[in-house]
């Protein structure tokens, strides 16, 4: 069988595309397939998770009239790697770890859609993890301290203050 596109080379790729229930068969040679950039597993230009994601990200600015908030979002830029939010929404990928910080205001809805959740509950790196645990403990103690001051329990407050100072001193440094 010859390629249905060029009619010269033998057709080596045979595939069936179903769009809205409409079935189309293709018999084409590799070079035509590459030119057409059709969806063939393993070839470039195929539908990827990133194009799907960028669709998700674009929803935010998809309204007919972009409001001021949406424009502010589009104008976000990562100061570390220079990636803009609109680039991020096209590529569906972050440029560096700081992007997470600069685009933070937009990430909760995205993560909720992709993962159904916004916060990590799994493994912590041992070294950085120790610091995080320590930070969490300090935050907890600080809240207790506020409470005890509000309750005028100054003796407890003083104890808590000392504990916080001690932890802050002991906290592993990066």
């Amino acid at each position: 069988m010859l390629c249905q596109e060029c009619g010269v080379k033998p057709a080596t790729l045979h595939f069936t595309k179903i769009v809205n229930g409409e079935k189309t068969e293709f018999h084409i040679c590799e070079s035509c397939a590459r030119e057409k950039g059709e969806l063939i597993p393993g070839t470039a230009g195929g539908f990827s998770i990133h194009s799907l994601l960028s669709g998700l990200l674009d929803l935010e600015g998809a309204g007919k009239e972009k409001n001021a908030a949406a424009q502010t979002v589009q104008g976000l830029r990562c100061e570390n790697c220079g990636m803009t939010y609109s680039q991020f929404s096209k590529l569906g990928r972050f440029g560096c770890s700081s992007c997470y910080k600069y685009f933070d205001s937009t990430l909760d809805p995205l993560f909720r859609r992709v993962h159904g959740s916004t916060a990590h509950v799994g493994k912590l790196p041992k070294r950085a993890g120790a610091q995080i645990m320590c930070k969490r403990k300090i935050d907890e103690l600080k809240q207790e301290l506020q409470q005890s001051i509000a309750d005028e329990e100054f003796e407890t407050a003083a104890e808590l203050r000392d504990q916080i100072r001690k932890l802050e001193k002991e906290m592993p440094q990066e």
């Binding site: 990827s48 998770i49 790697c81 997470y100 993962h115 990590h120 790196p125």
Partner: protein, 354 residues
């Protein structure tokens, strides 16, 4: 130290045996995505920055801590020829993405090829552990131990709230992709597969072809993996996958029994025809060989065929891929020649079994 080495040996033994549920589960894979602090992700990294990533990560696995996992070899992708890359992809040792699109990409492999550490893929570091049969828990234990070794030497990009930061938002949090490759011919033949696969999607898992994202399921082999990486612990992800796969195994087993009870003649005929065609055909396309090898695999499990052993069938699944054929029979070949050599390989391998 010696106990770890001993474990290593036992695992290699398992590789040869095929692992648990090997009549349905081909392999279990654990992949962990990690990035280094401060450096841009490979997508935006310059050549120097990619080189820096490699310089930070590569020595970790020449260190003492890593010796427990056997001896490792580093391969730089730009030093490999195209064919070797293709074969590494076909063996699932590297991703198509690392083979084709990476800058400064490299892979660290151990002796029995059950550990593959990719550098400068979509993320700076991707640790992958492969186990035969259903062994997702075992694969996690090893992957997390290797992760700890890296974490002992380099600083990961980690955020208190978001977890391990990855280039793609679909990997953030645990950075974990746990997957199991299953052979489900009876569920396909009895048209139950779509119902089961859509159920799988509803519990946060996803189904792909055997070469990952966007690839088609060939030879009734499906890859089932977790979709969610954020908001679940690694343990929850692994147990969820394990329990769903266990149920799928049960369904496949029931479907096989029913096939044998209700249509023994039809199924026997189908399997023996496939054996005949694989043993004698002169031209064999990949899709057909995958389908017919699937029939053989089923035939062996149902006792309709005495051989070949599953290990030979596993080997053939890889050997019939285009890159491998080129490697065995010579570099340049047209699609037709490729189909011819595939048929030759199958004739020679299966013919000798009888």
């Amino acid at each position: 130290m010696s106990s770890l080495r001993f474990t290593e040996q036992a695992l290699s033994e398992w590789m040869r045996c095929g692992g648990s549920h090997s009549e349905i589960v081909i392999s279990s894979r654990m992949r962990i995505a990690r990035n280094l602090e401060h450096l841009p992700f490979p997508l935006l990294a310059s050549a120097e920055q990619s080189e820096e990533v490699l310089e930070q990560l590569a020595p970790v696995f020449q260190g003492e801590a890593a010796a427990n996992f056997g001896s490792f070899q580093l391969l730089k992708l730009d030093e490999l020829d195209e064919l070797d890359k293709k074969v590494l992809v076909e063996k699932h040792l590297i991703s198509p993405n690392l083979a084709n699109d990476s800058r400064g990409g490299a892979v660290i492999l151990n002796e029995d090829e059950s550990v593959s550490i990719m550098i400068n893929e979509e993320d700076h570091l991707r640790i992958q552990c492969l186990f035969p049969g259903l062994q997702v828990r075992e694969a996690w234990v090893r992957a997390t131990a290797i992760d700890d070794i890296f974490e002992g030497s380099v600083n990961y990009a980690f955020d208190d709230r978001r977890g391990y930061l990855t280039s793609c938002p679909t990997n953030v949090g645990t950075g974990l992709r746990a997957s199991v490759m299953v052979h489900l011919p009876a569920l396909v033949m009895t048209h139950q597969i779509n119902r089961i696969l859509s159920a799988v999607n509803q519990v946060g898992l996803t189904v792909r072809g055997i070469y990952g994202e966007g690839s088609e399921a060939v030879g009734n082999i499906f890859q089932i993996s977790n979709q969610i990486t954020l908001g679940q612990t690694e343990n929850e992800i692994i147990e969820n996958l394990h329990s769903v796969v266990t149920q799928i195994i049960e369904h496949e087993r029931n479907a096989r029994e029913r096939l044998l009870a209700d249509s023994a003649l039809r199924i026997t005929d189908r399997i023996k025809r496939s054996y005949g065609i694989l043993s004698y055909a002169a031209v064999m396309e990949l899709k057909e060989s995958a389908q017919r090898l699937s029939d053989l695999r089923l035939g062996v499990d149902l006792g309709i065929l005495e051989g070949p052993p599953i290990s030979v069938l596993n080997e053939l699944n890889v050997k019939t891929q285009p890159g491998f054929l080129q490697k065995m029979f010579g570099d340049e070949m047209t699609a037709t020649e490729c189909d011819m050599y595939r048929a030759k390989l199958l004739r020679e391998t299966l013919g000798s079994q009888h």
